[in-house]
């Protein structure tokens, strides 16, 4: 079984299941509000022209997140 690793490590079109969010306080709440709770599937959609931020598909909505954030979201790879 593969370990959990940061969401930032996933490539375009890969999917992950959120396992842990290492962000505290107000911003953690904001992410949860977007539906980014444990066991949520996230698909990597698209990098921006300069490589950061990256757009993710989260529960039907397209959300762009900066590198520092996705470094702290740990996922498990979904094999397609």
């Amino acid at each position: 079984m593969e370990d959990i690793f940061p969401l930032s490590k996933l490539e375009i079109n890969e999917k992950g299941i959120v396992k842990k969010i290492n962000i505290e306080g107000e911003f953690r709440r904001r992410l949860l509000d977007l539906g980014l709770i444990p066991d949520t599937e996230v698909t990597v959609l698209q990098k921006s022209p300069f490589g950061d931020p990256v757009a993710y598909l989260i529960r039907g909505a397209v959300i762009a997140l900066r590198r520092e954030i996705v470094d702290k979201i740990l996922v498990e790879r979904v094999l397609v």
């Binding site: 107000e26 539906g35 698209q46 022209p49 300069f50 950061d52 959300i63 520092e68 954030i69």
Partner: protein, 685 residues
């Protein structure tokens, strides 16, 4: 609000057409943009149904009521404490699951909810089916499907709201949380029986969560028994491993999971149609095409503006200057004193005529084109493309959005900065907003480019080249924005970039008809009205200054001579600088004022084309250096009066208003000085 009026709150996620529903019901025109957080203050309107008056309150768009952003607090407090008779929650039929999150949170507070599933037409196009009856049954509240942009379903919505006044929902959905939490909720609810009006279960949850504002209220009311009870509950929860953060996580997760579960039951999705947007985004925000495409789009808009404005500009000039002659003849026939004739016709009327003929057409064309991009949902993609640059200068990526809003109007851009949560980043965005030229400054840039850099002889390539040069100027403005943001983050507004979430909403078909009607009617009439209010008095001042003489020299010349030494250093002349100063109320009168002041001391009395205008300018000593410096100074100088007042209102501080005044002005002076010195030093001129 009178007590007998029925108050209806309109809540919903950002970007679900909430404002369109609001406009559809009230007929009050309010701008709706396709990005998160556009409706930033609470708008009110009224509609009549069944002989009753309903006051509709448009709450800020929010994803949730649980985080503590200003918008969410405004929405939550209104629903909780103002006790609207009914809350309409507008949701997006194409993205129901995420929207249900807010619906469930609101139903926790009040059961008087009508869910308005909007964008049904979009859903049909995307072959998404939402079972409204089933949704209504699960939620226990009425559900109405609407397509607000084509006014579909609004009657049913009003009917459902009206019915709710006599028939409150009884059995609404209740979210069950972790057993430990449920037990504590019950305990606290017992202590809350004295509190009427507010839903006790919801209040118990907030207290357990440690929501500061509520706890303080109870402290003030000396409800010590209740607070002690809350403390004990929290302690018991901690003992089973549910601390404050874990508690919040469990609450939010509970709601999100329930939304997921409901969505699975009522929505039939069609994955294929979601793919369309992703495919478009893969091109529009790609490494290869993202940035060039953005510049090209900007260039195309300028190109259409320039060629589109040409003909109406000429026609308006012909009509208006013909009108000046007629007006003069009438004045002569009526034996009006010469000074009054001069004041009214050569001062006020002529300035107005210049504003209307040169400035109005480009403004009237640029604005709707820009709004189309906005409605399409392109602007969040601009923010996505440019975010890395803004991060590098320690600013918020959403600043790209507020920057874009500045193209339409800097005052609107400054208000838009409310979407930026971090106060530091918001100030940076406000201070730098003026570095993008607003609609009122474009015509100045276009006129000068056309006269001095592409030649006034018409050729098919000419507007294309003008658009290209204009795009370069905008890029310079964006670079200045980034540079100044960086300097601010390193000096008076020190700090690291904060976290933010940027949503890329689905592309939407722009409501072309509405945009055109709104632009032509609202916008053009607004500009015309402002031209009358601002340009005529300014024209009057110029005329008086040109005709009142002290020791045989007009006041105008005195003033210009006074400004001349400084103006010369930055490549301008005294008349130009004076026009910029007098143009403080509105940027679109700067060029007309320059013309007026030159003409007042010139023998040339007839002037109706750009070619003749160029001659006038060159006769008054303009060179290509003057033209460059006027463009630079137009791009970078103090914000207009309206923007200035808006900044004061938004920052609540004269200090930051002054900074917003000084920063672009100093940058403009430095840029013009450097360019002028460079050109003169190396003898290019």
């Amino acid at each position: 609000m009178k007590s007998k009026d029925i108050v209806v709150a309109l809540a919903g996620n950002p970007n679900v057409g909430k404002s369109t529903v609001f406009n559809g019901l009230t007929g009050l025109n309010q701008h709706t943009g396709n990005w998160a957080g556009k409706t930033v203050s609470v708008a009110k309107g009224a509609y009549f149904y069944n002989d009753k008056k309903f006051i509709l309150v448009d709450l800020p768009g929010t994803y949730s009521l649980l985080s503590n952003s200003i918008d969410e607090e405004v929405a939550r407090d209104f629903i909780c404490f103002e006790k609207p008779d009914v809350v309409i929650v507008v949701v997006d039929a194409t993205c129901l699951e995420r929207n249900l999150n807010l619906v469930l949170q609101i139903i926790e507070i009040t059961s008087n909810v009508v869910v308005c599933v909007n964008l049904m037409d979009e859903a049909r196009k995307k072959k998404i089916v939402v079972n409204l009856q089933k949704l209504s049954k699960i939620l226990g509240v009425p559900v109405v499907g609407t397509s607000a942009s084509i006014k579909e379903g609004l009657n049913q919505l009003m009917e459902a709201v009206d019915k709710m006044l006599v028939n409150n929902p009884k059995e609404v959905i209740k979210i069950k949380y972790d057993d430990n939490i449920e037990k504590e909720i019950k305990d606290i609810q017992k202590e809350l029986t004295i509190i009427k009006n507010i839903n006790a279960r919801w209040l118990a949850l907030r207290l357990l969560e440690g929501e500061d504002s509520f706890i303080k209220t109870f402290e003030k009311n000396e409800s010590y028994k209740l607070l002690k009870c809350v403390k004990e509950s929290q302690r018991r929860l901690r003992n089973v491993g549910i601390d404050k953060d874990e508690f919040r996580d469990k609450i939010v997760s509970g709601i999100v999971r329930r939304a997921e579960n409901i969505s699975e039951k009522v929505v039939i999705k069609n994955e294929k149609y979601y793919q369309r947007d992703y495919k478009i985004d893969k091109i529009i925000t790609s490494k290869l095409f993202g940035i060039p495409l953005m510049m090209m789009l900007l260039g195309i808009i300028f190109y259409i503006t320039i060629i589109g404005a040409n003909v109406p500009s000429k026609i308006l000039a012909n009509i208006l200057f013909q009108g000046e002659e007629y007006l003069s003849q009438i004045f002569e026939r009526l034996n009006v004193p010469l000074w009054l004739h001069g004041m009214v016709v050569h001062g006020m009327y002529r300035t107005l005529a210049w504003v209307v003929s040169v400035m109005l057409p480009p403004m009237a064309i640029f604005f709707p084109l820009f709004t189309i991009l906005e409605d399409l949902g392109y602007l969040p993609r601009v923010a996505f493309n440019l975010d890395k640059l803004f991060k590098k200068v320690s600013a918020c990526g959403k600043q790209a959005l507020t920057m874009c809003m500045g193209f339409g109007c800097n005052a609107a851009g400054v208000i838009g900065c409310r979407i930026i949560n971090s106060p530091r980043e918001r100030l940076i965005a406000i201070i730098t907003n003026n570095f993008v030229p607003c609609n009122g400054r474009f015509p100045t840039l276009i006129a000068i480019i056309t006269m001095f850099f592409v030649g006034v002889i018409s050729s098919p390539l000419q507007p294309l080249f003008s658009a290209f040069l204009l795009t370069l100027i905008i890029i310079l403005g964006v670079m200045m924005t980034l540079f100044v943001s960086k300097v601010l983050s390193k000096t008076i507004l020190k700090g690291l970039p904060s976290n933010f979430v940027l949503e890329l909403p689905p592309y939407r078909k722009p409501q072309i008809r509405r945009i055109i009607i709104r632009s032509i009617l609202d916008r053009t009439l607004f500009v015309l009205g402002r031209a009358v209010i601002v340009a005529m008095p300014a024209g009057l001042i110029i005329w008086i200054m040109a005709n009142v003489k002290i020791s045989d020299v007009s006041l105008l010349t005195h003033f210009a001579t006074f400004l001349n030494p400084f103006a010369n250093l930055i490549g301008l002349d005294g008349y130009i600088l004076m026009s910029f100063i007098l143009g403080f109320p509105a940027n679109e009168i700067v060029i007309p004022l320059i013309i007026m002041s030159y003409m007042s001391s010139s023998t040339m009395l007839e002037l109706s084309s750009l070619a003749e205008l160029k001659t006038l300018l060159i006769d008054n000593g303009w060179t290509w250096l003057t033209a460059i410096c006027v463009m630079l100074f137009s791009l970078m100088h103090w914000p207009c009066g309206t923007t200035y007042l808006t900044i004061r209102k938004e920052t609540q501080s004269w200090k930051w208003t002054l900074v917003s005044f000084l920063v672009p002005t100093i940058m403009g002076i430095i840029s013009c000085f450097v360019v002028t010195s460079f050109v003169r030093l190396f003898g290019f001129l």
